[in-house]
Symmetry: C2
């Protein structure tokens, strides 16, 4: 541990500078306008893997953005860790809400502000630097493979094909991912499950053109009003989702599981204050931790239609649209839920409008084992690094790769995230605490050490 701390201390500024270089790439995978920047980011990541000491580094083309691969095989009889991360980021808008430009990383109060600071550039780059540390100090105790993709924020559409076509190359004993959050530096935690995702876009079309709301208002169905009615009907008065069959495959937690989950340190008053709301909201009969960790949800991610500029325009719009995503819990299936949504939404639409539902992407929910060698290695690494045993938690987010890996390669995942819920992922002013970045770089070599030891 002393050697690790010394190496990190000796290279502190360079570790930060390199992350800043990575954060300056606006690698927004959702927006085709950034295509060249996303591609440049992949090349940058590949070069940094080479610099750190990886062999066989390759920017592997896909039908979308490339996957960066690299490896270090020290001894084929030793266990192998596959590190997954992603170099693409969420769109930065609304830009006007950023205090400093999203792609010009800035330090304030010991935090790095930039799009991707935590999700996931800051987190996957810890692994690159921890790898460099193990190479330089000659302490790499197992084989390591890196797979850093560029389409996580748009559904990892091409990753499945890549994994299928590279089963030998990717053969490993565990997948290690840092793309989740812990409760706090004082209460380190390990996520043991992730929600799945079904993301759709809906379009409601009324008249074949925008109409004058005075001449036609009151006589023609307004798609914005109808869309509002359709969306409103998707939750009942208890905030249960009303899509028939939606909950069919949900496995209810046992009383003991619920009790354990609700024991995690969590202050509802802090939560409310942090978000600036008067009260929380959600499905009746469940706590906030249960709502985000164990229950499926349906959220409107975007809605638009008609005149949204300055001032007043008296128009009855021809179309109104929304982006809607559902988070799924273990045993639910993304394709099935997407179909249930589609059928339901088309069925409840009145005849006076046309409705189109376009699936965007999905991902399956997962539960990671808590009795594996890899999970115990993560527990020991965190306990040693933080001086406190990590608390197991259930995460609300989705990392589709986890289910994919299990299905295609038969490998389980350990989610060893160093972010915080307050890191503003997907929001303006995304940040990552500098302390968490360094702590991650220090903890990762311990994981490898214990994983190698316990695997014997």
């Amino acid at each position: 541990m002393q050697e690790i701390k010394k190496y990190v201390a000796d290279n502190k500024q360079r570790f930060l500078d390199e992350l800043f270089d990575l954060l300056r790439f606006p690698s927004v995978s959702a927006d085709p306008a950034y295509k060249n920047e996303v591609l440049k980011t992949a090349d940058f990541v590949a070069q940094k893997l080479r610099d750190a000491g990886a062999d066989n580094v390759e920017v592997c083309p896909t039908a979308g953005y490339p996957i960066v691969y690299g490896e270090k095989i020290v001894d084929s009889s030793k266990p192998t860790v596959l590190v997954y991360g992603h170099y693409d980021v969420q769109p930065a808008d609304p830009l006007e809400l950023w205090h400093t430009p999203p792609f010009e990383p800035t330090i304030r109060d010991e935090k790095i502000y930039a799009r991707g600071a935590c999700d996931d550039k800051g987190q996957f780059y810890m692994h690159v630097k921890a790898f460099e540390l193990m190479i330089q100090t000659n302490t790499l105790p197992c084989n390591i493979k890196f797979m850093i993709e560029g389409e996580e924020e748009v559904g990892s559409n091409n990753l499945g094909i890549f994994v299928q076509q590279n089963k030998d190359r990717l053969k490993s004993d565990v997948v290690l991912i840092s793309d989740t959050a812990m409760i706090s530096m004082e209460n380190p935690s390990l996520e043991t499950g992730l929600r799945g995702l079904s993301y759709v876009e809906v379009e409601v079309t009324g008249p074949n053109r925008d109409l004058h709301s005075g001449v036609y208002g009151g006589a023609v169905a307004n798609p914005a009003t109808i869309l509002a009615k359709l969306i409103a009907s998707l939750h009942d008065e208890n905030n249960h989702i009303t899509i028939p069959g939606f909950y069919d495959d949900v496995v209810e937690l046992s009383a003991a599981e619920r009790e354990a989950l609700n024991k995690a340190p969590f202050d509802i008053e802090d939560y409310i204050t942090d978000l600036g709301v008067e009260e929380v909201w959600g499905e009746k009969g469940y706590t906030t931790l249960e709502r985000t960790g164990t229950r499926p949800t349906l959220e409107v991610n975007g809605i638009w239609g008609g005149y949204i500029g300055e001032g007043a325009k008296t128009v009855l719009p021809s179309k109104a649209s929304a982006k809607i995503s559902m988070r799924l819990v273990p045993n639910q299936n993304s394709d099935k839920i997407t179909k249930l949504f589609q059928n339901h939404f088309e069925k409840i639409a009145p005849k006076s409008v046309k409705v189109k539902v376009t699936p965007h992407h999905g991902g399956e929910p997962v539960v990671t084992p808590t009795d594996s060698v890899a999970f115990r290695a993560a527990q020991k690494a965190i306990a040693e690094s933080f001086g406190k045993e990590p608390i197991p938690t259930r995460g609300g987010g989705s990392i589709p790769i986890v289910a994919l890996f299990e299905k295609e390669l038969g490998i389980k995942t350990v989610l060893m995230g160093f972010g915080l819920d307050s890191d503003n992922l997907h929001s303006p002013n995304e940040k990552y605490d500098i302390a968490n970045y360094y702590k991650g770089i220090e903890t990762i070599p311990l994981f490898h050490k214990y994983f190698a030891e316990l695997s014997n």
Copy 2:
């Protein structure tokens, strides 16, 4: 009539060229980006009034956009007609739906396509050209005053002050406005009422920042979902508006009035086909003509919130907004309805969000007299010009100036519009039939003639 037709025939191309020059100004009053263009339009209109023979032409400053005034007093013992119109236009977006650029007037199938072609540049400019005709042929039978404003599309906020401060200058016997539609060239009509307007913007705020919908989804009220629920609740299952007190001041039409109204030529199948919808929609118990002409309505003119760009972003938005306008019928009051809406909307919002209602502008509903000298003059002018008696109809739109004139100056209005409902007012591909433009220029001098004759 022969002399009129000859003058129009001799000046056909010039009349069109001048209108095209006027249409090329992007005089969008709602968008501050067009400020200079709106101001230039006012100067252009003033120059054209001078060229046509008007005296005392002035671009009168207001707190917003100027009002263009001009007059010709032939004999103070003769009656005076005040022509009102507006040189500002609606925003042109969505631009991508225009077949030709909105501010580059284009003729297709004998129709002029441009923003403002009908509303109201094409229509008010007929009066400028009819005035020129009467000056040039020495047939102006009464005094004429022009008041052409630049803020009609944003609520005529500064017109009231101008009218109050210019009561003497504006003193007239009737207000003549061409800013409405007729049924068709085969079925000329005269509107005898207009709906009032209450236009508001609502903003629903949930958490103090955009959130990751995986981390927080299901545990925090989503403003887009709440906005949808609030909007959905504004109409009940019969499409009645649910705001308490909303209908209190509405005077129901008598059975005889309803019968007369529904006798107007109207083919519901043509209407449905033209709009490309499967069926009409509206308040139960009323026909389409009643819904648009005699009933108050509530329409969403725009809605937005969250991520509305390409692809998928899993965000739980901090805010969602909508522009909502209500059309009012005689005896309803715009301020009162705005307050009812505001109180109701704030009251039904759940505690988990904050709601802000901002009134944009309003206007009072009006019924114009059908037994006045001016109305009979309009009937005679149309009967002579079109060879058919005009049918009285009720318009669904709003021209706030009409109620204002009655209140401030005690003058009634005649609504002699030459547009068609299919002119795509406020929509992409706004148009005005060339035939209607010329027909208007021919009919207007007849109105002045009969108004002078009948006033004796």
